[in-house]
């Protein structure tokens, strides 16, 4: 196929700004899908995505517009998947920047727009939802124009819902976005920008061919990871899989690899032919590392094998999920899981609960800490209970956080960022009304309840995004919770020393309320090392007897006893104290309530 007839583009948009509706209109207008066939929001294939209105996994669709083939490469809309976004953008020559004209630009959109600018993509600004009465297309156009350095007249104004202006966008794609460059005669190279797992055919890779040409049955190799396989099938999505005999330079399509494990073919790797291999992989490959960790335990310990199987199956489709077995004295057998971020964690949790019908206990999320021990050894700590007490140095991950907010809320945002140990970087007026604030913040503060607080202090107006920005030393300490003198491993946390007392106090108070009174006084304590910083006492019960028991009711009373005994089996023993699972749940919820 001639390169001149191909256009590869992505759509950058914030959640709810109408990307999926817009993509649907494109499919309809180009005749890729008839209206009758149209499932609403076709691109988002997982239920969860449809429900949350977000795209988790990128996919690519080829449509025909006049004499051109347009490849729409969908991008995940969330910060947790910014590496995947960057790979999707690298597969394109241009991007539509779609903004809700009633809302303006949001922080995540901005981050991705900068990413596109950094990749030298041609950006086509589009103001959507101009049919809404509260829309302000002029203001949105002004903001967009300022951002991409265009004149406001070049901002397209559409309504994806009604279809108004969509054909002009398609024309603009052809006119403004350059065709792919690449050398059709060079050794074949293709960028893997996404993959998914098909239970019958194994890993299916989504690729952008950069140079040369790939043919069916060709022996292939992933250049960075070194994985070899055969192209069992090549094809394009239109929008269902449509096999082709070859994919040439500039084209976007899929490769059925037959591989049984997505982790053997990572996003960002370069495919080449083993018959005539390329010398160098394409630049930009990076192994994404999980930054947020949490313990996941089955509520019913008998469900451990089901949880293991479910995680195995999720991992087939989600190369960025990591897990390893974890044993907690309080919560039993489970897994310590690593996620790209909080949304990723929520998605995994929901999929485990919904698709695999599991009842889960999830510990408070924590980040990856780096500790330098007295011996000089440096270890990475993913579980607070594993943080050594004696350390020379603890480093924590930092992020560069961007907050976009109406100017009236700058004060509250600064206040919050200061409370959370943020250091101010810069402030920028995006328009007369809206301000971009940039801060360096510890990721650990964000996984706590930052986003929630941000939303509540700005009445929901703030939008927020972050990029990982390396490790920095922090005055951090491990706080342990002790019940009946014994440490409850699942409740340990790592916090800044200044916050240790407040957090310890809250946990201890909550536990005192949740743990039923026992036969003896039970101290509940928060401690740093051997130093107790907060303490509550659960007073012993003064009586617990069956009032009466005579010949006529022995069976009934015995059954009551048996029931009581079985209830105890659901209790976890900590320090000789029976702690109902509900108590852990309540405390863990206390932690995650903040997070949301």
């Amino acid at each position: 196929m001639e390169l001149e007839r191909i256009r590869n583009f992505a759509i950058i948009a914030h959640i709810d700004h109408g990307k999926s509706t817009f993509a649907d209109r494109i499919l309809e207008l180009t005749g890729a899908v008839s209206e009758r066939e149209m499932r609403e929001q076709l691109l988002d294939s997982m239920d969860l995505e449809r429900e949350r209105g977000i795209t988790i996994k990128a996919q690519a669709v080829r449509v025909r517009w006049r004499d051109h083939f347009l490849n729409l490469i969908d991008t995940p809309g969330h910060v947790d998947f910014s590496y995947e976004v960057s790979r999707s953008l690298q597969a394109c020559e241009g991007a539509l920047l779609l903004v809700d004209a009633s809302q303006g630009i949001e922080a995540q959109t901005l981050a991705n727009a900068y990413l596109a600018l950094d990749n030298d993509l041609e950006i086509v600004p589009v103001a959507n939802k101009i049919d809404l009465p509260q829309a302000d297309p002029d203001a949105a156009a002004a903001e967009l124009a300022q951002l991409v350095g265009e004149s406001p007249e070049r901002v397209l104004r559409i309504s994806a819902k009604t279809g108004k202006g969509v054909d002009e966008v398609l024309d603009a794609i052809v006119e403004r976005i350059p065709p792919p460059s690449g050398d059709p005669g060079a050794p074949a190279r293709a960028l893997v920008f996404d993959s998914s797992y098909d239970q019958y055919r194994g890993v299916v890779a989504f690729v952008r061919v950069v140079d040369g040409r790939f043919e069916t049955r060709e022996p292939l190799r992933a250049m960075v990871q070194g994985t070899s396989f055969e192209a069992e099938e090549l094809g394009v999505m239109s929008p269902v899989r449509e096999p082709v005999t070859a994919l040439g330079a500039g084209e976007v399509g899929y490769v059925v690899t037959g591989l049984k494990d997505v982790s053997r073919l990572r996003v960002g790797d370069t495919l080449t032919s083993r018959r005539r291999p390329a010398a160098e992989p394409l630049p930009g490959y990076k192994e994404v590392k999980p930054m947020v960790f949490a313990g996941i335990f089955p509520t019913d310990s008998d469900e451990y094998p089901e949880l293991r199987d479910a995680l195995e199956r999720l991992k087939l489709n989600d190369g960025s999920l990591s897990y390893e077995p974890e044993t907690s004295q309080a919560l039993g057998f489970g897994f310590r899981c690593g996620f790209l971020g909080l949304l990723h964690m929520e998605i995994v949790r929901e999929r485990l609960e919904r698709e695999f019908d599991l009842d889960l206990l999830i510990t408070a999320p924590t980040v990856a800490y780096r500790a330098t021990k007295r011996s000089g050894d440096v270890i990475e700590v993913h579980n607070p209970a594993e943080m050594p007490v004696e350390v020379d140095l603890v480093e924590e991950p930092y992020v560069k956080a961007s907050v976009i907010v109406p100017k009236d809320y700058v004060g509250p945002v600064m206040e919050l960022a200061n409370e959370r140990r943020g250091s101010f970087d810069h402030l920028e007026y995006l328009s007369e009304e809206r301000v971009l604030l940039s801060y360096a913040l510890p990721l650990g503060e964000i996984v706590y309840d930052f986003y929630d607080q941000l939303k509540s202090r700005t009445r929901g107006y703030a939008s927020f995004d972050y990029d990982l920005a390396g490790f920095q030393p922090g005055d951090l300490t491990r706080v342990d919770i002790l019940v009946g003198g014994e440490q409850v491993d699942a409740l340990s946390l790592i916090v800044h020393r200044d916050a240790a007392y407040d957090r310890g106090r809250q946990l201890v108070e909550r536990l005192r309320k949740e743990i039923p009174r026992q036969m003896f006084d039970v101290p509940v304590q928060a401690a740093i090392g051997s130093r107790v910083i907060a303490r509550e006492t659960i007073k012993a019960r003064r009586k617990d007897v069956l009032a009466k028991c005579y010949g006529g009711d022995i069976s009934r009373k015995r059954k009551l006893l048996e029931k009581q005994k079985k209830g105890k089996k659901r209790m976890k023993q900590v320090g000789g104290v029976e702690v109902p699972q509900e108590a852990f749940l309540a405390v863990l919820n206390l932690e995650s309530e903040r997070k949301r």
């Binding site: 036969m519 028991c549 009581q564």
Partner: protein, 378 residues
Amino acid sequence: MSRVRHLYVHLPFCAHRCGYCDFVTVVGRQAQHRAYVDALLAELALEGDVLADRLDTVFLGGGTPTFTEPEELARLLAALPAADELTVEANPETVTPDLAHLLREGGVNRVSLGAQSFRPHLLRVLERRAQPDDVRRAVYLFRDAGLDNISLDLLYGIPGQSAADLASDLADALSLEPEHLSCYELEAKPGTRFTHAHGGELERQAEAMEGYFEAVVDTLTAAGYRWYETANFCVEPDRAGGRDLRAQHNLAYWRGSDYLGVGVGAVSTVAGVRRRNLPGLSAYVDALSAGASPRREVEVLDAQTQACERLMLGLRLDEPLATAEVNESLDHVALERLAANGLVELISNGACDALRLTCRGRFLGGAVTAELVELASA
């Protein structure tokens, strides 16, 4: 097979059903009293083979046995096998000089009087018909008739009952010098009319009433009573001319002895088999008048279940429970722990080990038992 030495006879009739009651009772039906006593005697004739020639105890419970038509009650008493202890439950308002004599004539040597409280406002909450003076009068009438073993039932934890109310109730009861007292915490059983009306109030009072059990035990032991079972107290032998005033019939339950029960809803446990007559009155009477056994539920108690019950019941008593009897159902690890925590006392007497709850352990008897017991399916 050793013969059964304990007999329970159920008389279900009551003048009124109290809101908190969950026993098998029927209101009124004087016309049926005769037929019912016929049925009781017929069941006794059918089942009587298992009984020893002379019994240790017979217990007439209800319902309100003393509400039964006098001639029928007399006929029943005359037909019962001889026993060392013959107890009848009575409600104060049913006690007349004639009734007291009737009981005495019929061989009754122990009565259990349902006093419940001496505070009029609390009796109203309980829907009891008797007034405080009825209780006193009943005790005097029994004394006049020569009864020298009288037990009073008291309830505590009644909605609206203050600590002072409880102290007055105990003082009023003690002033009648009963040989025996049963003090029960009021249980608001789910689904009863009472719980519907008072459950919320009881929950609000729960904390204030937490110390009532201790107050009952402290007051009665200070007054010279032996706290021989979780809810039962009797005058110490040295103050009773050496008599053992514990309720011998109930002691048989707590020690795991076999017993035969007759009457509607009555339960028997004989040789590891528990049978419960179904609760319907007419079906019971009809079956027996046709010469058949009443319909029953049967439960076979395996060795471990029996051991579990021995543990549950035996720990209610102040006397040591032989470990050998409950071994099959005993969690020895828990036993060590509870002993270390001062809730259980281990008594080692040569080859024969026994256990007993400490004073603090008895206040927490339910929880301690739940720790100690090991279930078959566990």
